[in-house]
Subunit: 348 residues, 2 copies
DNA sequence: GTTAGCACTCTCATTAAATGAGTGCTAACG
DNA sequence: CGTTAGCACTCATTTAATGAGAGTGCTAAC
C-alpha cells in the first residue's frame, strides 16, 4: 500500500493507461494516450508522470522502448476506484440487458438453473462463468423415495424443496418388498418434510429414540439406506462454463500459458475454496492475478459476488478472465447476476 | 483402392515408416529406417521403395528434402493389416490391465458408470474418451414418481430398470394433492413396470382407450405430466472426457488447430451422429482423419467399438486422438472396454 | 512546472547466408 | 535386372545482419 495518495492528474493518467490497455492489449505510450484522451498536457509531461507511476509500482515496462502496462497494483488501484465510484455510474450496461433477457420466468430445477446461468455468465462476458451451489445445509428436506431395481439393489432418490433430486444406487443384503420400502419412506417423509437439512440428522436420532416399536427396525434400515444420499447432497458443487473462451484471449496465445490455465481448472477444489472464502464478504469481490493464491491462476482475475436465498447468503458466482479484463462491465454483470439469482431463489 | 497388392517388402517398409512416425512424430528418412529396423537392403533401395509407395499414394513428402510421412491411405492400409492380424497378436496389452483394475465390481448407477469408464478411456489412452448412451428405446420402464414441491409445481422422476433416474420440474394449472399424484403414478407403474420404452407410448394409448372410468381423467393428466421426462430420456446422451489431453499432442501445438479441435467438440451432435452410425457395424470401427466427415475433425482419428446389453448392441464407445495414434494399443483398449462394459451391463 | 527536441534503446520484421537432413538420379556392380 | 554407392540438388531451419518504428529519457529552453 503506497503511503502517498496519488494527485488527481496522476490518477487520471493511470486510469487512462489501464483502460486503454484493457481495450487494446498493447503497451500504451505517452503519445497515444495524449491523442486518445485529448490530454491538456503534452506527451513529455505524460512521460514524466508515467515514470513516476512506474517508480511507485503502478505501471511497468516490458522493455525500454515499449509503452507502459499496468502492474497488479495498478489494476488494484483502478478497480478500487471503480467500485468506490460504482454507485453513481450505475447506468444500465448492455450486458445486464442481455442477462435480463435470459430469465424468462419459467421455473427450472436448481441444477438446470445454475448451469444455465453459468453458461449465460460465460456467454455474455466471453470469459469463464463459475457458480458454487448453496451450502446444502440451508436446504429443505422434501421427499425421499426408495425403489427396488432388483434383488438387493435399491435406488434412493432424495428431493429437496427447490427441486434438486439426488439419486444413489445401493446394495444391501436385506431384501425388502416395495411395500416395506414405501413404508420406510413414508415414515421419514412424514417426520422430516419441511425440515432444513441441518436438522435432519438430529431429527432422525430423535425419531429412532422415540420409536421403540415395530417400525424401529425398518426406520433404522431406512436411515442406513438414505445415509449415502444425504451425505452426498451435503457436498457443495461447482459449475464452470466457457473454459474455451480463453482460447480467444490474446494473452493466452502462448500454448504453455494456455495449458496452465486449463490445468488450473482441473483442480476444482482450489477454486471452490477460493469462492467459498468470498461467502463471508457479502457483495462483489475481486481477485487480481496472483491474489488468487493458486499459482496457475496468476494470469487470471476473478470477479465474484455472493447470492442469497431468502435473504441469507448461500453461494458465490463469478467470472474468471485474464487480468486484463474490462472490470467495470464484468462487475456490473456479476453483480446483477447475483441479484437476479437471489430473486429467483427467493421467489421459489 | 489400389489395384496391385503390395509385395511383402513394400508392406514391411510401409509398416515400418508408419510405426516409426507414430512414435516420433517426425518425418522418417531412408537412413533412419535402415538403422532402426536393421534392414537387409540399403538406404538407397529403401528410397526407391518409398518413392514407389509415394507414387501409389501411401506416403507423402512434406517437402523434397524431408523424410516420408503416411497419408491417410497409408494409415488405412496399416490399420487394416493390424485388425486382420489382430487375433493372433492378442497379447494382453498393459492398457487392458489398467482398465481391468478400474472395475472394482461395485455397482453404480448408469450415469456414474458411463462417466467413470469414459474418464478411464481418456486417462489410459491419453486421448479423448467418448461414450454414447444406449438407445433408450431398449430401456425398461421401472417406476415413475410425482412430487408436489409447491402449488402447481411438480417434480417428475422417472426411473429405468438399470437405475437411470431422470427428473424434470413442471408447472401445470391443475392442483393435485400428493395422494392424487401417488394414485396417478401407481396407475402408470402397475401397468408399465417392466415394459420396454418402445412399448410404453403404445401401452399408454391402450390404457387411455380402455379406461373410460374415473381414473381416466387422472391418467390423462399423468400422461401429460410424464410426457416431458419420457421425451427427454429418449434422447441419447454423449459422454466426453479428456479434451485437455489434446493439449499435449505435438500436432496441435499450433493454436489454430487446437481451436478447431475444441470447436469440433462444441458441436456434439456431429459426433453423436458419427458414433450412432457405428451401431450398425458390430465390433471395432476406425475413422481416420477426413473419414470423419466433420471438417474440423480432419486431423483426428476415431476408434470405436459397440457394446451390448444382454446381447443386444445398444451403444458405442471410443477414443479420439490425433491421426498419428498408436492404433494397435488404442484398438485393444477400446475393444476391451466395450467387452467389459457389455459384461457389466448384462450382469445387472 | 511544462514542453520541445533529440539521441538512444529495444523489438520486430526482413533479408541473407550457412547448415544439414534427405532425396533423386546415375552409373557401376553382381 | 535388382541393388547399391556416390554425388549433386532441394528445401526447411537456424543464425546473423540490417533497418524501420515506437517510445523513452534526458536536457535545455520556455
Amino acid at each position: 500500500m503506497p503511503d502517498i495518495t496519488l494527485d488527481e492528474r496522476s490518477q487520471l493518467i493511470l486510469n487512462a493507461v489501464i483502460s486503454c490497455y484493457i481495450t487494446t492489449a498493447d503497451p500504451v505510450g505517452s503519445r497515444t494516450l495524449w491523442k486518445k484522451y485529448k490530454l491538456t498536457v503534452s506527451p513529455a509531461t505524460v512521460r514524466n508522470i508515467m515514470a513516476d507511476l512506474e517508480e511507485m509500482g503502478y505501471l511497468q515496462h516490458p522493455h525500454t522502448s515499449a509503452g507502459r502496462i499496468p502492474t497488479e497494483m495498478g489494476y488494484r488501484f483502478y478497480v478500487d476506484a471503480l467500485t468506490k465510484a460504482k454507485s453513481k455510474a450505475d447506468k444500465i450496461a448492455p450486458q445486464i440487458k442481455e442477462l435480463s433477457r435470459w430469465y424468462s420466468g419459467g421455473s427450472k430445477n436448481a441444477d438446470d438453473l445454475f448451469k444455465s446461468l453459468c453458461r449465460e455468465l460465460s456467454a455474455i462476458s466471453q470469459y469463464i462463468g463459475v457458480i458454487t451451489t448453496p451450502k446444502w445445509q440451508n436446504i429443505i428436506y422434501k421427499h425421499i423415495k426408495f425403489i427396488c431395481l432388483r434383488e438387493n439393489q435399491y435406488l434412493v432418490i432424495f428431493v429437496t424443496q427447490n427441486g434438486i433430486a439426488q439419486q444413489r444406487l445401493i446394495e444391501v443384503k436385506e431384501a425388502y418388498t416395495q411395500e416395506q420400502l414405501d413404508q420406510m419412506a413414508r415414515c421419514l417423509n412424514d417426520n422430516l418434510n419441511g425440515q432444513p437439512l441441518t436438522q435432519v440428522r438430529k431429527k432422525i436420532l430423535e425419531l429412532m429414540a422415540q420409536e421403540k416399536d415395530a417400525y424401529n427396525r425398518l426406520l433404522q434400515d431406512a436411515v442406513e439406506l438414505s445415509q449415502g444420499v444425504l451425505n452426498n447432497i451435503a457436498e457443495s458443487k461447482l459449475y464452470v462454463e466457457g473454459e474455451l473462451n480463453m482460447l480467444n484471449q490474446p494473452e493466452f496465445a502462448d500454448i504453455d500459458k494456455m495449458k496452465a490455465i486449463f490445468r488450473a481448472f482441473e483442480e476444482k477444489h482450489h477454486l471452490i475454496k477460493l469462492l467459498d472464502k468470498c461467502l463471508n464478504d457479502d457483495g462483489v469481490n475481486i481477485f487480481i492475478g496472483s491474489e488468487n493464491e493458486a499459482d496457475r491462476m496468476r494470469d487470471c482475475s476473478l470477479v465474484t459476488a455472493t447470492y442469497r436465498d431468502h435473504n441469507q447468503v448461500v453461494g458465490t458466482l463469478g467470472v474468471i478472465g485474464p487480468v486484463r479484463m474490462p472490470y467495470s462491465q464484468v462487475i456490473s454483470l456479476v453483480e446483477y447476476a447475483a441479484k437476479l439469482l437471489s430473486e429467483i431463489l427467493s421467489k421459489q
